[in-house]
Amino acid sequence: MALLEIRDLRVYYYTLLGAVRAVDGVTMDVERGEWVGVVGESGSGKSTLALAIMRLVPPPGRIAGGSIVFDGVDLTRLSEGEMRRIRGRRIGMVFQDPMASLDPVRRIGDQIGDVFLEHGVASSREEARRLAGEALEMAGLPRDWVDRYPHQLSGGQRQRALIAGAVALKPELLIADEPTTALDVIVQAKIMDLIEELKRELGMTVILITHDISLAAERSTRIAVMYAGKLVEYGPVDAVVEDPLHPYTRGLLESAPDLWGEKRLRGIPGYPPDLRRPPRGCRFHPRCPVALEKCREEEPPLVRVGDRLVACHRALMRR
């Protein structure tokens, strides 16, 4: 049994202008010990997917259907109280903007300490602060920084503090949503090192959500590519980046500037669809350079091709 089994997950935002189908029928497994990179552009549904796993989809959004089975338990069926016991303890999460995730007027140690009190691991503020110090140390920060305020830390240090909080209770799964987007490449690489090191030490599974396929390719075991609310390709990183099966994956790779690649950049023509009225057939067909007649009419199913999953009529013909 995989650690995480997502089946036909649908997450919709119910707006006055209709339901935005942000995640629309995603099925994927994440095995224990994996590092899965979920890649997509704005509107792909990648962040909503992460929020859904944490059961933190903000209104007017809601899980409209499907299941998220984590270690045998369907998270979509848990009460908020039951979910609270999992959140932070068995599944940790770090977000993009460390400043927005931290309270500017509370000491770092108190903020990280909350997680120990909430889950009854510490019985006093004192003990929580001591444990917070240990967590900071694990994230590569001095233990006595529990007394510091967020503004006294650099961007990279704040992200370390948040990671310390997210892994303090040694979760089985860490979800990191664009954790390094606001940081420069050198600090970004060091934060990725830290996540990798913690993954190894704690035996964690990692899901990294990012718009940057190069970053995802660096350390992932598998890459999941999302487009317009759908999973379009999922497979081992080497296969996906060296021989992409889905035209969108190929387009994304050709769109990513690379210091060691060709000195020209291709894009993907057109714009992503309005998710209130997604196109019929394959959602990518209006932008696809190799679309078939069938792609306009019939939605391609997610099919196993070797060790990969792909949702593309053209890719299936190739098989």
Binding site: G156, R219, D258, W260, G261, L265, P272
Partner: protein
């Protein structure tokens, strides 16, 4: 001034003072730009690269006189504009334009984007209202927002990020400027739409003979657009030279660290040239070489004496007492098992 140079910058400096007043907290002097000199030729693109806090955006704003410099000189087309009063500067403004990172904040949310594009022509009294509208429609078409009559009346909220950035480009280009400062113009644009935005900028550049300062934190983007690259660190240029040479044969340890840390599909799971820590607070710049606390090659001299940006030949400049030897990166890659 030699022919072909549109911009000459000498010893540019800008400090910001934070705090110090009533309730202001301790007074800090932020040395955002601290002695920057370079020249830009007509039709040339300089990629100004650095992390946040390096002073690259402040440099861009200073050369367009959107900020007042504290010291140094700026010559635009041979005219010293460093302290030119706004009244004298105004007729020159159409010739120098800026594009910002976030297209959303560059546009009035209630103004139809066609009107926003036409506006600079009207403000600078370069066209009548109806001529300006005609030109705006042409520009909309030109930047791929078609049919232009339809896009003209849309407001920014009705456009995607990539479409908004096209509007911002059209608005800057309607004046046919000679100098453009583009500050991270694609960093908020979806990956699949970046190529198109970069191509638009390149096309306008060819057509107008535009000189461009392209500000980015991303070396791989700089490589695609820049003829020359200048790497900034804590308010100073630490390395400059022809783009491909800087990237293939960096001489400053900081440049080498940036290059080897850039995520790459082709170099995945590869080693980096490691440097320590993070960029210092620009209000607390280390003595000597500002990079020395992070530098693997630092010597005692580096903590005492600030290196100047020295010419090492072939159009290359480096500010380092102990630069990497020529061909260092290729050798280093070999020792990592890469060729």
């Amino acid at each position: 001034m030699p022919a072909g140079e549109i911009l000459v910058v000498e010893g540019l400096r800008k400090y910001f003072v934070k705090g110090g007043g009533f309730l202001g907290g301790p007074r800090r002097v932020i040395k955002a730009v601290d002695g920057v000199s370079f020249t830009l030729r007509k039709g040339e693109t300089i990629g100004l690269v650095g992390e946040s806090g390096s002073g690259k955006t402040t440099t861009g704003r200073l050369v367009l006189r959107l900020l007042e410099p504290d010291a140094g000189r700026i010559l635009f087309e041979g005219v010293d504009i460093t302290h030119l009063p706004e009244s004298k500067l105004r007729p020159m403004r159409p010739r120098m334009q800026m594009i910002y990172q976030d297209p959303y904040w560059s546009l009035n949310p209630r103004k139809p984007v066609g009107e926003a594009i036409a506006e600079p022509l009207i403000v600078h009294r370069l066209a009548s209202r109806s001529e300006a509208r005609e030109r705006a429609l042409e520009l909309l078409e030109r930047v791929g927002l078609t049919p232009p009559e339809d896009f003209y009346w849309r407001i920014p909220a009705q456009l995607s990020g990539g479409q908004r950035q096209r509007v911002v480009i059209a608005r800057a280009m309607i004046l046919k400027p000679e100098l453009l400062v583009a500050d991270e113009p694609v960093s908020m644009v979806d990956v699949s739409m970046r190529a198109e935005i970069l191509r638009l900028l390149k096309d306008f550049q060819r057509e107008y003979g535009l000189a461009m300062i392209f500000i980015t934190h991303d070396l791989s983007v700089a490589r695609l657009v820049a003829d020359r690259i200048m790497v900034m660190y804590l308010g100073r240029i630490v390395e400059a030279g022809p783009a491909e040479e800087v990237l293939r044969d960096p001489r400053h340890p900081y440049t080498a660290a940036l290059i080897t840390a850039a995520p790459s599909v082709r170099r995945r799971r590869r080693r980096r040239y490691e440097i320590r820590g993070e960029i210092a607070d620009p209000s607390n710049i280390p003595p000597g070489c500002r990079f020395h606390p992070r530098c693997p090659r630092a010597t005692e001299r580096c903590s005492r004496e600030e290196p100047s940006l020295a010419d090492i030949g072939d159009g290359r400049l480096v500010a380092c007492h102990n630069p990497l030897p020529p061909g260092w990166l290729r050798e280093w890659l070999k020792t990592q098992g890469e060729s």
